[in-house]
Every structure is written in structure tokens, then in C-alpha cells.
């Protein structure tokens, strides 16, 4: 059985139907990417999976547990973390405090300390700036912080929404390297990206989203060579 199974998901904003019957699955250990143009519904899907939005119909099963009727703060406890679009770090808290907020659902102080050291090892920049207010970090550093904060909950699966948005090319490469490392350390990844080329280059499988529906799905390797994809999303 898939780790995360989304079935016939419908989501509306008032009268406007944003997601019209989307189904996909993520198996343990995979890197799955949802790609698609602006407004295709990628962020809406992630928000619905982590409970910030409630679907009109459809089901979201995570390790057999139904998420669509579960409060968002409980979903984190099941082992799902979400790095939101635009990073949304707590600007008025320090880097250290942001990371500790990420471990909100955990109680063992020693284990939290251990995770914190691991995050600092993976993101040395965050350790250098641990006492700085998160709002004063650069965009790239804030992205590192948002990812570190999500990892502090020790998730089984991590959802990332446009982690490369607004970053310099150097940081974009770094962000994708980190995603590869996260995956290599055993965490399942569901990645939403506009940078389709980069996303396909690190993903196992991909779903192409067009105006609220899955238009195409397949292995990332095949899609990257698909003529239609090349034309529409890779700008070649």
C-alpha cells in the first residue's frame, strides 16, 4: 500500500473549483513531484493534504489514516511535515526558536537536542545565525530555516512547496542538493515546483497538473524527455 494515497480530491474556494478530481500516490522512500503552471492547483493540493484546507470530497490516506477530517495540528504528529510556499518562518523569533517550534509535537529534550545538532550540521549557516531574528535572514537562508524547521518534527514524509522560488541560482542548486540528501536519509519527499527541469532531475515519479486535474503522469526520467513536457514546461 502506498504511504500517501490521495483519491478523487475535489477542493473549492467558494464557487470556484480549484481541484477537480485529483488522485495520486506516494510510496515510502520516493521523491514525487507535482509540476504545473501557476494556478494549476499545486499549492491547494498540499494545503489540503496537511489540513489547512478542507476538501469538498475525496479521501487522503496517510499510512491508512484519513487526513481530510483530521485537524492540521494532529497531522504533524502522524509524521508529516510541510515546508510552505513563501517559507513562512516566524520573523520575530530567533533562528533557534524557529527550529524549536518545529519540534513542538515532540517531548524528549535529549532527542530534540540531537535533532537540532543534526540540523546545524546539515545547515551550518543556521548555527552561525542561531541567535538572529529569522526575519533578518536572506531568502535562501530563510528557505534553509523553513526546511530545518520542518525536519525538526522528524517527519516520515516532507511536503515542500516551491522551495526554489525567488532564490538566486546558486541557492537553487543548494536547495535541490539538500532535497536529495533528505531523501537519501530515508525521508519520503513530495515536491511541488515550477522549476520543472530541476524537479524532474531529482524525482522518481512526477504528476503534471493542469487547471485542477492530473494531465500526465510517469517516471521522471521519461517525462524529462517527453516532447509535450519539453515544450510546455521545460522551455525547450
Amino acid at each position: 500500500m502506498a504511504m500517501l494515497e490521495v483519491k478523487d480530491l475535489h477542493v473549492s474556494y467558494g464557487m470556484i473549483q480549484a481541484i477537480k478530481g485529483v488522485s495520486f500516490e506516494v510510496n515510502e522512500g520516493e521523491v514525487i513531484t507535482l509540476i504545473g503552471a501557476n494556478g494549476a492547483g499545486k499549492t491547494t493540493i498540499l494545503h489540503t493534504v496537511t489540513g489547512l484546507l478542507k476538501p469538498k470530497s475525496g479521501s487522503i490516506l496517510f499510512e491508512g489514516k484519513e487526513l481530510s477530517t483530521t485537524a492540521p495540528h494532529k497531522i504533524v504528529k502522524y509524521g508529516m511535515a510541510h515546508v510552505p510556499e513563501g517559507r513562512r518562518v516566524f520573523a520575530g523569533l530567533t533562528v533557534y526558536e524557529n527550529l524549536i517550534m518545529g519540534a513542538y509535537t515532540r517531548n524528549d529534550k535529549n532527542e530534540i537536542e540531537e535533532s537540532l545538532n543534526m540540523i546545524y550540521k546539515r545547515f551550518p549557516r543556521l548555527e552561525e545565525r542561531k541567535k538572529q531574528l529569522a526575519g533578518t535572514l536572506s531568502g535562501g537562508e530563510q528557505q534553509m530555516l523553513a526546511m530545518g524547521r520542518a525536519l525538526m518534527s522528524k517527519p516520515k514524509i516532507i511536503l515542500m512547496d516551491e522551495p526554489s522560488m525567488g532564490l538566486s541560482p546558486l541557492f537553487v542548486t543548494e536547495v535541490f542538493d539538500i532535497i536529495k540528501q533528505i531523501s537519501a536519509s530515508g525521508t519520503t519527499v513530495l515536491l511541488v515546483e515550477q522549476n520543472a527541469k530541476k524537479a524532474l532531475s531529482i524525482a522518481d515519479r512526477a504528476y503534471v497538473l493542469e487547471t485542477g486535474k492530473i494531465a500526465l503522469t510517469g517516471n521522471a526520467k521519461d517525462l524529462i524527455n517527453d516532447d509535450k513536457i519539453k515544450k510546455a514546461y521545460l522551455g525547450e
Partner: protein, 293 residues
């Protein structure tokens, strides 16, 4: 000199009471982005509860205070649950009108049940006045108010910055969605803020009614408005701002009563507020975090 010190001390004490009330305003504003205009009337309910516990139930003072704090805490949480929570996501004007409605509801309930006449409130402070020299005597109420305020401010600052719940409150104030993604129960956190704010209102009510030994259904409304001004003065949303704003307001009010005119003192307080807001629109300690994007 003696009279100046005595005016200053009672100003600090009055300011402490404003600060305790302002903390409730500012914390609720910070987390729920709403002005809880019923907050002043929670003070009145606290005052009456303590008054009735002492006079009708003949409870000892400590028990009466405890009952007052518990009743206000429950009242604050209940008001939030019933009146404000269903409006989360509604326009801020709807929430504001609801808050004013709750304020009138509490006042009129008090009028109905307890009558409109002011009753004499027996001070809960048993400390004797402190005689510093022949011309300078500071009342027990003033001393106790200052001590209680300082202790509460220190405790609250530690709570907000050092505990898990306190940090969660800061996180929810900044970004409810992101806070939920951390696993924080936003509704519970907001309830806790109302609980703390209302408990502080009960303490403020006890101190206020002891210093000015009277209670009526309107006891809470003017101090409530003054404390709201104090919160704006210090920078609404800022906890140290509410403390500073409250203290300054109390001192300015008392000194202008003493040296300028007791009739003009409120006008002077409002004028100072206007000047501060012209010079620094976010209030004294209100800050806009410069966030790089």
C-alpha cells in the same frame, strides 16, 4: 518634594493597574487580531465576584481573590468560544461590533442583577500605610499594587519567552497557518491567551476597587478605555509596550491631576497619545520587523 513622591507613587500604582489591563488587550490583539472591548467589563465582573465572595459568602480574602480570578478566566474563555470564535475569518468590523455588544451585555446583566448603585468595596489589601517621614505616607494599596504588577510582568515575560506555550503564542500571533504546520493547536492557544488576559483583569479589578473603594456596573469601562489607550500608546501587540504604556499613562494622569488640573487630566492623557501617534504611528515599542524578501 514629599507630595511629588506621593503623587508619583500613586501614579505608578494606577499605571500598574492600567498595564495589567492593557496586557489583556495587547495579547488578545496580537493573537486574534481583534480589539476585545469587553475586556474592561471583565474587570467589573472580577470586582463584583470578589465583593460578593467577601460580603455574601464571608470567604477569606485569599479565597475571594482566587474565586475572582477563576470566574474571570472562565468568563474570558467562554466569551471567546461563544462570541468571537464563530467569527474567525469574518471582517474585523463584525468582530468589533460583537465585542462592543458583549461589553454592553455584561454591563446590563450587572445592572439587572446587582442594581445601578455603587457599592462600597472593602479593600483586599491589609498592609498598613508605609510612613517614610512625617509628611510622606504611602498607602498599602499603592505598595501592594506596585509589587503585584512587577511580579506579574516578570512572570509573564518569562512565560512568553521561555515556555513552550509562550512560544506557541508568539508563533500563532505571527502566522496561524505556519503555526498549525508545527503541530500547534491554534484554537487552544487562543483560548489560553483569553484565559491569561482575563485572569489579569481579575487581579486588576481587585487592585482597582481596593484603591478607589467603590464598585458599580460601570467600574470597568473607563479603566478599560484608558488601558486600551495605554496598549496603543506602547504599541499594540507588544507586551513590553503595554507595560510601559500603562505605567506612563498612570503617571501622566496622576501628575497632571496634581499639578495642572484634575478636570483636564484626561484631555492631557489623550493629547499625549495623539502626539506619540503622530511622531511614531506604531506606538512607543511597536515595531515593524524589517523582513528581507
Amino acid at each position: 518634594m514629599n507630595s511629588f513622591i506621593s503623587y508619583l507613587a500613586s501614579g505608578i500604582s494606577l499605571g500598574g493597574i492600567y498595564a495589567l489591563i492593557a496586557l489583556g488587550y495587547t495579547m488578545v490583539y496580537g493573537i486574534a487580531k481583534m480589539l476585545n472591548f469587553a475586556h474592561g467589563d471583565v474587570i467589573m465582573v472580577g470586582g463584583y465576584t470578589i465583593f460578593l465572595a467577601i460580603t455574601s459568602l464571608s470567604c477569606p480574602i485569599w479565597l475571594s481573590l482566587l474565586i475572582g480570578v477563576l470566574v474571570c478566566t472562565a468568563l474570558g474563555v467562554t466569551i471567546e468560544r461563544i462570541a468571537y470564535k464563530p467569527l474567525r475569518g469574518a471582517s474585523s468590523i463584525s468582530v468589533l461590533i460583537t465585542a462592543i455588544g458583549v461589553s454592553y451585555l455584561l454591563q446590563n446583566l450587572a445592572l439587572n442583577i446587582l442594581g445601578s448603585d455603587a457599592k462600597t468595596f472593602k479593600s483586599v489589601v491589609t498592609l498598613k500605610p508605609i510612613v517614610i517621614n512625617e509628611g510622606l505616607k504611602i498607602s498599602g494599596e499603592t505598595v501592594v499594587t506596585i509589587i503585584v504588577t512587577v511580579v506579574i510582568m516578570i512572570a509573564l515575560t518569562l512565560f512568553i519567552n521561555k515556555t513552550k506555550m509562550g512560544r506557541a503564542m508568539q508563533a500563532v500571533s505571527e502566522d496561524k497557518g505556519a503555526a498549525q504546520l508545527m503541530g500547534i493547536n491554534v484554537n487552544f492557544t487562543i483560548s489560553m491567551v483569553f484565559a491569561i488576559g482575563s485572569a489579569l483583569a481579575a487581579v486588576a479589578g481587585a487592585l482597582l476597587c481596593s484603591t478607589y473603594p467603590q464598585i458599580s456596573p460601570y467600574t470597568g469601562s473607563m479603566p478599560g478605555i484608558k488601558a486600551f489607550i495605554a496598549a496603543v500608546f506602547g504599541g499594540i501587540g507588544s507586551i513590553p509596550g503595554a507595560m510601559l504604556g500603562g505605567l506612563l499613562l498612570g503617571v501622566i494622569e496622576n501628575l497632571s491631576k496634581a499639578y495642572i488640573s484634575s478636570q483636564l487630566s484626561d484631555a492631557i492623557v489623550f493629547a499625549v497619545l495623539i502626539v506619540v501617534l503622530i511622531v511614531k504611528p506604531t506606538g512607543l515599542l511597536g515595531k515593524k520587523i524589517n523582513e528581507k524578501v
